[in-house]
């Protein structure tokens, strides 16, 4: 048995626009639902609160100021991680592992629709001397990464198309806001953003919030709860230069996966997991992730041709519909996937519920040009 478990999760709806709500209300709504599910009172039971965000997504400098009130964390240990929600969760995991915290709440959200020109904000993440002057449109970065990824790993365009078809298909049963009814003909007249990157390769942004409540083994046993256990966590940054990242996209993910697998005792990941929710912010990142995570066989193209990662395949991947169908909620991306994986283990995933999900893997990367990954191994 692991030392840390998930005892409650809560999300808002993930929608392209949430004009009627402030970001604080999204946070509150997700937190309220998670606390209710976990059966905790934040003022009494939660020992620490973590938010994952960045100032420029919010349009507020020192964003952590804006966190405690709507989470119930006033005058308690609260902090913010400049990372994906998965990184927030990993910090929560570590806090509980110190033995000094019993219950920790982790929050992440997106109000992408409120950002007037999100591409300009993303471009602001580029090195101001070497990259920003030569990259006018950040789609070029994704195009470069796609070309490098296909080249490095020998991924076929047919495989990339399979990813898009699969995830939109999965999402169509799952009320995913961006799910489309696509088929092979949908790729005949591609709309290129930065060749080879096409419109269909990109997950659109979405608004929403997610909160996950973690607890120690002692608390869980004391309260008689049925958690989803966190068996292993791993995280890694590949480096600070995007241009160097293109030499081997996904190397950092392999490092993060090694850490998580070592912790969880996973030696044969392909056989170990019943489900994987992996990064598909861009379509090609799904096969890259599966290779780096050791979930693909010798040739990932054959895996996709053999429908291994379909909902009824040997290892279902992005059964939720992934970011491609549900949208990409910025730093809440990791928690969106993690909440879905936890719900699958609990048997509460709705229309796409699979049979007997015991072990699940969640792996994410932050928005381009980030090279930071997070991996979590879950079990029922």
């Amino acid at each position: 048995m692991a030392d840390v478990g998930i005892i409650g999760v809560g999300t808002t709806q993930f929608r392209p626009e949430t004009r009627e709500k402030l970001f604080k209300e999204l946070m509150y709504e997700a937190a309220y639902r998670a606390y209710l599910e976990a059966g905790v009172d934040p003022r009494r039971d939660v020992d620490a609160f973590i938010t994952a965000s960045e100032d420029l997504w919010e349009g507020l400098a020192i964003f952590d100021e804006y966190v405690p009130d709507q989470l119930g964390g006033v005058l308690k240990p609260v902090f913010t991680v400049g990372g994906d929600g998965i990184h927030g969760l990993i910090h929560g995991y570590m806090l509980i592992k110190t033995g000094r915290f019993d219950v920790v709440a982790v929050e992440a959200h997106s109000k992408a629709s409120e950002i007037e020109d999100i591409k300009k904000v993303v471009r602001f993440a580029l090195d101001p001397i070497y990259l920003r002057p030569v990259i006018e449109d950040v789609d070029v970065l994704a195009g470069l990464e796609m070309a490098a990824s296909l080249g490095c790993y020998g991924i076929d365009m047919d495989t990339v198309n399979e990813v898009i078809l699969k995830n939109h298909f999965n999402g169509s049963f799952n009320s995913a806001p961006y799910a489309q009814n696509l088929d092979e003909n949908s790729f005949e007249t591609p709309e290129y953003l930065a060749e080879p990157l096409r419109t269909l390769d990109v997950a659109p942004y979405v608004d929403g919030g997610a909160v996950v409540v973690l607890a120690s083994k002692d608390y869980i046993s004391r309260e008689g709860l049925e958690p989803v256990w966190i068996e292993g966590v791993g995280w890694a940054t590949q480096g600070g230069r995007f241009e160097r990242f293109l030499d081997m996209p996904g190397e950092g993910l392999a490092a993060a996966a090694r850490m998580a697998y070592d912790m969880a005792g996973v030696s044969r990941p392909r056989r170990y997991f019943d489900l994987a929710e992996v990064d598909d912010r861009f379509s090609f990142r799904e096969p890259v992730s599966l290779i780096a995570l050791g979930l693909a066989s010798g040739d990932v193209n054959i895996d996709y041709a053999d429908r291994v990662f379909e909902m009824d395949g040997e290892l279902p991947v992005n059964v939720s519909g992934g970011f491609l169908a549900n949208g990409y909620p910025l730093e809440a991306g990791g928690l969106m996937k993690l909440v879905y994986a936890a719900r699958q283990i609990w048997g509460e995933a709705g229309p796409n519920q699979l049979d007997d999900v015991e072990k699940a893997l969640v792996a994410t990367r932050r928005e381009i040009p980030s090279t930071t990954y997070g991996v979590v191994v879950l079990s029922g």
């Binding site: 960045e54 100032d55 420029l56 349009g59 507020l60 400098a61 020192i62 952590d64 100021e65 804006y66 966190v67 405690p68 009130d69 006033v74 005058l75 308690k76 240990p77 609260v78 902090f79 913010t80 991680v81 400049g82 990372g83 990184h87 990993i90 910090h91 995991y93 570590m94 806090l95 592992k97 110190t98 033995g99 000094r100 904000v121 993303v122 602001f124 993440a125 580029l126 090195d127 101001p128 966590v233 791993g234 995280w235 890694a236 940054t237 590949q238 480096g239 600070g240 190397e251 950092g252 490092a255 993060a256 850490m259 912790m263 932050r366 928005e367 040009p369 980030s370 090279t371 930071t372």
Partner: protein, 392 residues
């Protein structure tokens, strides 16, 4: 020496590094981080290859003019295919990044952690205060044209009014800290000044005057934290992190009584309980408390229970907080003397506690024998307290 009977696994500091603190340093942020990290690693007898995990601290993103700043500065931190993360709680980030380093080790996930904090404020034109304008609520506060000095003037005024404190007593903090900083090799604004100099300096927002305030600074600091078993291999003189605490108050600062930093009281309480400290005034031998303004040193001493409410100015006037006093406060020279590259200034405080406890502070070494030291930082909208307690 009192042992911490509550600890699960002990975390030691085995190396510290600090760049110069200056306005408009020519080095890039990456280079500053590398300089501080290299010094800390050298002191610990380690290389970056020996490090398992890296924690990075910086206050707002925007000083470097880069979104997702930690990603851009990963190379300066040595974070290549390594676990690397950025945490932040505004001005409290420097000490908080050490707390994050503590839980990386105390959780058992990492054995050797490099903690780096960096701030390069000089980039902001025409002045960093322009950026701080964006920390305020965009609906209720920003339209007022408010800036940080404006709200700290409110807090200073309230503190003075509630306890009948005179400007002359507060000015003594600036005089002491700038004098202490004369012995600090990184210091930016060390000086021998008088109370009259402070009282005659330019009024910024009454009662805050030019010499009540720390400067705009660039700089970086780094620490190496390791597990107990690693510490025994690396040094005979590890300095232990025996207590950590932090607390964040509501962002609605206008609804609070600014005379007492209740968030810091809770942060200190958390750290004291963990370190097994029941009487901080007696059991803390010296402290590096956050002093971006001179009144904040006094305010924070009271929040940390190192003085009773309204008593800190009296202790200062009586020389208790001098380097050779009974309770030395900011023997480094603090932010008022050494400088204030926000997150790096917090690391500077923890580094000073580490060097003092190891007897490595040179001319800054406090006179009394010290076993237990405390470092603290503060930030956000007068909202967060972060505390680290170290023992030798």
């Amino acid at each position: 020496m009192k042992m911490n009977i509550y600890r699960k696994s002990r975390v030691a500091c085995v190396g510290a590094g600090l760049t110069l603190f200056r306005r408009r340093l020519m080095e890039t942020s990456d280079e500053l981080m590398w300089l501080a990290a290299r010094q800390a690693l050298d002191e610990a007898g380690l290389t970056i290859e020996d490090i398992d995990c890296i924690v990075f601290g910086t206050a707002p993103d925007n000083f470097d003019g880069i979104h997702m700043q930690s990603e851009a500065l990963a190379d300066g931190a040595g974070a290549v295919n390594k676990p690397y993360t950025r945490v932040y709680v505004g001005g409290g980030t420097g000490v908080f990044s050490v707390i994050a380093g503590w839980w990386h080790v105390a959780s058992g996930l990492c054995d050797r952690v490099l903690v780096i904090a960096e701030e390069k404020m000089s980039h902001v034109q025409p002045h960093p205060q322009y950026l701080f304008h964006h920390i305020f609520d965009p609906v209720t506060e920003k339209p007022l044209g408010v800036n940080l000095i404006w709200i700290f003037a409110l807090e200073m005024h309230r503190y003075m009014y509630k306890y009948g404190i005179k400007k002359e007593d507060i000015a003594l903090v600036s005089v002491k800290n700038k004098r202490n900083a004369l012995d600090h090799p990184s210091a930016q604004v060390a000086a021998k000044i008088t109370v009259e100099d402070v009282l005659n300096s330019e009024v910024l927002v009454w009662p805050v005057q030019r010499l009540d305030i720390s400067p705009v600074s660039d700089g970086a600091g780094a620490l190496v934290l390791v597990s107990e078993s690693e510490a025994k291999k690396l040094t005979d003189e590890p300095i232990w992190i025996d207590g950590v605490g932090w607390s964040l108050d509501t962002m609605y600062w206008t609804n609070r009584d600014l005379a007492f930093p209740v968030y810091l009281y809770y942060a200190g309480k958390m750290a004291y309980e963990m370190a097994g400290i029941e009487n901080p005034r007696k059991e803390i031998d010296f402290a590096e408390v956050y002093d971006p303004f001179d009144y904040k040193e006094l305010h924070h001493m009271e929040g940390l229970q190192l003085a009773r409410k309204g008593e800190a100015p009296i202790l200062t006037r009586e020389g208790v907080t001098e380097r050779d006093g009974d309770l030395p406060i900011n023997p480094s020279g603090g932010l008022l003397g050494v400088g204030n590259p926000i997150a790096a200034a917090g690391i500077m405080k923890v580094a000073e506690v580490y060097w003092q406890l190891r007897g490595m502070a040179g001319k800054r070494q406090v006179k009394k024998d010290v076993v237990t030291g405390l470092a603290q930082a503060w930030g956000d909208l007068m909202q967060v307290g972060t505390v680290v307690i170290m023992r030798r």
